[in-house]
């Protein structure tokens, strides 16, 4: 139950690579995490302004198409222009996804990438229309990635007040029933939508077992009115839509007689962030994600304590996890999620950057997108706000395993040229603790292709 480089790579990173040295110590892992974000620079996304320029153009084309449809021209030049633009912009949007894959495969700071994935899933959100879908990569980039080792309050605010989340959980349309906006439109009967408020309490902060009731959901929903994302995919606060008066959430009052303001919303988020139930919920979830489905209770307790002592400092909670002996239990129980499996395989195969970059839209779909879907984890897009399952059993389905086997037999041949000798590959990806059955399979396989697949399908590779 003490630090090991191999275990650090498997459990807190994207596995071993023949070309990247694994972490040398907990201190080194923390230093890297608290240092500069090299991967984001090396495999950069274009600035958000580029994405917004793209969405602007999409919106104009959509408008033109809608106008044409109203005029009875369903399949006219406007429709063709919209479809053509969609098709033309697809490779660029897919390239942003590819950059994410490259970071996981080639980063020297695997912990950072794993934490980004963990928190992006904790704040799962996706676009429900074309404009927002094109912004998905940038949601994680701007609302999650910069905050993973800071205060949870900052991450919470960045994520739940991000236009993507406001759009995903219908906050955009929620209006205070007694707000000037609603009062001036009596015929429209505009009012509250509880969706975001509920998920903030249930999923993002206190957890479903937390100390809140339906009335807190209701009050928080009222407090959130006025917060919305505008067409430029930017956060906007419109006091005219906000419910007047104070709201009481978990016994504390926010806002008041004066004009509603964004600060009231920020205040409730800050309070929720440091609530003991939030600490317990996050510590448990993180320990489950990284260590085991039933984590050591003392591990969880020390993570919770570190969180509370530092007013919700995520880097302190991460450090508490890494410094606890239970985090280094030798038995590997957690079963890799499909994304982790696939990227750790690419990492172990050391698929060159140029090879991955050269994959155009179709290739990326064939080797990454479609397989992830069959494995049950469509590329970073859970259907619900609760993200992907943390339960090993969920991923250990016959269907999921068959898909992993199918990928292991077909993708490495195409991506890693030449395909490594399985006898070397098994040491590359499993390090010093290779079970003898896997060593034997790597040696006895009838082809390189099958040898590599058998290593990838071994429990020693699939569990972390």
């Amino acid at each position: 139950m003490s630090f090991s480089s191999t275990l650090a790579a498997h459990r807190f990173g994207y596995g071993l690579s023949p070309e990247i040295a694994p972490p040398k110590s907990v201190n080194a892992m923390l230093r890297a995490l608290r240092g500069r974000d090299r991967a984001a620079k090396q495999f950069a996304l274009p600035p958000v302004s580029d994405v917004h320029a793209l969405t602007d153009e999409i919106r104009q084309l959509q408008r033109a198409r809608r106008k044409a449809q109203k005029a009875g021209r369903d399949n006219g030049p406007e429709h063709a222009a919209f479809e053509a633009f969609k098709k033309a912009s697809r490779p660029e949007i897919l390239r942003w996804t590819a950059q994410g894959v490259l970071r996981r495969v080639w980063s020297e700071d695997g912990l950072r990438e794993r934490l980004v994935d963990f928190w992006a899933d904790h704040f799962a959100a996706r676009g429900k229309n074309y404009s927002f879908r094109t912004n998905e990569a940038h949601y994680a980039e701007t609302a999650i990635r910069p905050y993973i080792s800071g205060k949870f309050a900052d991450l919470l605010e960045a994520a739940v007040l991000h236009p993507m989340m406001l759009h995903f959980l219908d906050q955009n349309a929620s209006v205070g029933p007694n707000s000037p906006f609603a009062q001036q439109r009596p015929k429209q009967e505009r009012g509250l939508n509880e969706n975001l408020a509920r998920e903030i309490l249930e999923l993002h902060t206190l957890g479903v077992g937390g100390a809140y009731e339906q009335k807190d959901v209701r009050q928080l929903a009222k407090l959130l009115t006025g917060v919305r994302a505008n067409f430029d995919i930017a956060l906007q606060f419109e006091p005219r839509r906000a419910e007047p008066g104070a709201e009481t959430v978990l016994g504390r009052s926010y806002g008041g007689a004066e004009r509603a303001k964004l600060e009231d919303v920020q205040a409730v988020l800050r309070d929720l962030a440091v609530h003991p139930d939030t600490a317990a919920h996050l510590a448990q979830k993180m320990a489950v994600h990284f260590v085991a489905d039933t984590p050591d209770t003392d591990l969880v307790a020390s993570m919770k304590a570190a969180y509370l002592e530092t007013d919700g400092d995520l880097s302190a909670m991460t450090e508490a996890m890494l410094r606890h002996p239970a985090a280094w239990q030798v038995a590997r129980h957690n079963f890799k999620q499909p994304m982790t499996f696939l990227c750790s395989a690419l990492r172990g195969l050391a698929v060159p950057v140029a090879r991955l970059e050269a994959l155009q839209g179709g290739g990326l779909q064939r080797y990454v997108g479609a397989p992830l879907r069959t494995m049950g984890q469509p590329l970073g897009k859970p259907l619900g706000p609760d993200g992907f399952s943390e339960t090993d059993g969920h991923w250990l389905s016959p269907q999921g395993l068959a898909a992993r086997l199918q990928w292991s037999l077909s993708a490495p041949v195409d991506l890693a040229r030449p395909l490594p000798d399985p006898r070397r590959f098994v040491l590359d990806v499993l390090g010093e603790d290779v079970p003898k059955e896997v060593l034997f399979a790597a040696k006895a396989a009838e082809s390189r292709r099958e040898g590599v697949a058998l290593v990838l399908m071994s429990p020693a590779f699939q569990r972390m």
């Binding site: 219908d170 509920r198 479903v208 879907r373 069959t374 619900g384 969920h394 068959a402 086997l405 034997f440």
Partner: protein
């Protein structure tokens, strides 16, 4: 040179390689034993909270237009059923089933789950069939427990299908989970080596054995161009075009198995969480449900359909009143959908609680007047003859079965 195994040549060359395949425990095909009954049960979990009040619009309620001004406006295409309830226009293609006595609904039902209105807890409770999520949290499903108590039924005659494993069917009795678009090729030697590396990991070993067994029974070969395209669209837009095709394929797969020797199938349909502009957003999931039911009906063949009961249930209903964004929020009492040739008659069941403020649960949601598990229990009992006492203690601990609603003929 060793023989290549693919799903396709499994089917065509099954006899030729049968012996060597059967000799490997990893490759033993699942045997489709004959069940001692011809009756079939399909359980569909509607994830997200179906709005029963929009599915079956209570036109007899004076308060309906007050509580739901947008959602109750206009009844074009709506089908008047009985007791004043109008069926959502999107469900019009189901009308022939209603006329044939093969479609029914139960109003104002729910699980014992109350107040927190979390989808995820609500679904766990619905699938576990227990009264409370507190405590140890029972992690096996009621359907699994029901199969465990059924005498003389080879558990392998039951299938759960779909890309997500479901709690409903999780537990000791073996139900296999499969969706029909995976294929792989591995030499026999490779299979033997893999078996060896998985030996120390019972969970992985069992899942892989099932995968390989099922692969041999699961129809045609690899994904073709259309399917690949579908998969790509699905990835770009999980709720869009591709997803619309996927549910039909699942229904076709289920129908094919049920026509043969499977007697129980369960899967889920999502998209019911209609917080926003429900007049639009409810249409897609309803259409999927309609297409699923019609696919089962059309594909299963008259003889099998005649013995089939479909039970579609959801984790909770939605608020009696529209919310501020022309949708509805999480509620309590909801509706259950029943279909199949085995039904005794069409009808709208359930004790209707009314929609006056005082009649609502917490002045907010439709009051549940019955336990949804009781209806599932009667579907099980009527289909497979499960003992009342077993249903009340093992399958749905703590429920009272009460009087027979006489669902089936």
């Amino acid at each position: 040179m060793s023989k290549r195994l693919t799903r396709r040549n499994f089917l065509t060359q099954g006899a030729a390689i049968g012996c060597s395949v059967a000799a490997s425990p990893l490759l033993t095909p699942v045997s489709f034993a004959a069940a001692p009954t011809d009756n079939r049960l399909v359980v569909i979990v509607l994830r997200g909270g179906l709005d029963g009040l929009d599915l079956l619009r209570p036109r007899q309620e004076a308060l309906l237009p007050v509580l739901r001004p947008t959602l109750s406006a206009g009844n074009k295409g709506e089908i008047p059923l009985e007791g004043g309830f109008g069926l959502h226009p999107e469900c019009a293609p189901l009308y022939p089933l209603w006329q044939a006595g093969q479609l029914a609904f139960v109003n104002a039902v729910s699980t014992p789950y109350r107040d927190k209105r979390s989808h995820f807890d609500g679904q766990d409770l619905l699938e576990a069939g227990i009264a409370s999520i507190e405590g140890d949290g029972v992690r096996d499903g009621w359907l699994n427990r029901a199969i465990g108590t059924m005498k003389g039924v080879d558990v392998q005659t039951a299938y759960a299908i779909g890309t997500e494993p479901m709690l409903l069917s999780r537990g000791d009795a073996e139900i296999t989970s499969w969706s029909p678009d995976v294929d792989f090729i591995l030499s026999q030697q490779g299979v033997a080596l893999m078996q060896n590396t998985l030996r120390g990991d019972p969970e992985m070993s069992a899942a892989m054995a099932t995968a390989m067994g099922l692969a041999s029974k699961s129809g045609e070969g690899t994904m073709d161009a259309t399917e690949l395209e579908e998969a790509m669209d699905m990835m770009m837009d999980p709720a869009g075009k591709g997803a619309r095709g996927a549910h039909v394929r699942v229904a076709e797969f289920a129908a094919d198995r049920l026509r043969e020797d499977a007697r129980i199938a369960c899967f889920s349909l999502g998209g019911w969480d209609t917080h926003f502009r429900q007049s639009n957003t409810l249409r897609t999931p309803l259409r999927r449900l309609v297409n699923t039911l019609l696919t089962l009906h059309n594909r299963m063949g008259a003889a099998a359909w005649q013995r089939t009961t479909v039970v579609a249930m959801t984790e909770f209903g939605r608020t009696a009143a529209e919310n501020g964004t022309k949708g509805t929020d999480h509620g309590t009492g909801g509706a259950m959908v029943l279909a199949g040739g085995a039904l005794r008659k069409s009808g709208v069941y359930g004790q209707w609680p009314g929609m006056d403020e005082a009649a609502l649960y917490k002045r907010r949601d439709l009051m549940p007047t019955d336990d949804v598990r009781r209806w599932a229990a009667w579907a099980l009992r009527s289909s497979f003859g499960l003992e009342r006492s077993l249903l009340e203690t093992e399958v749905f601990p703590g429920i009272e079965l009460g009087d027979d609603p006489r669902l089936l003929a």
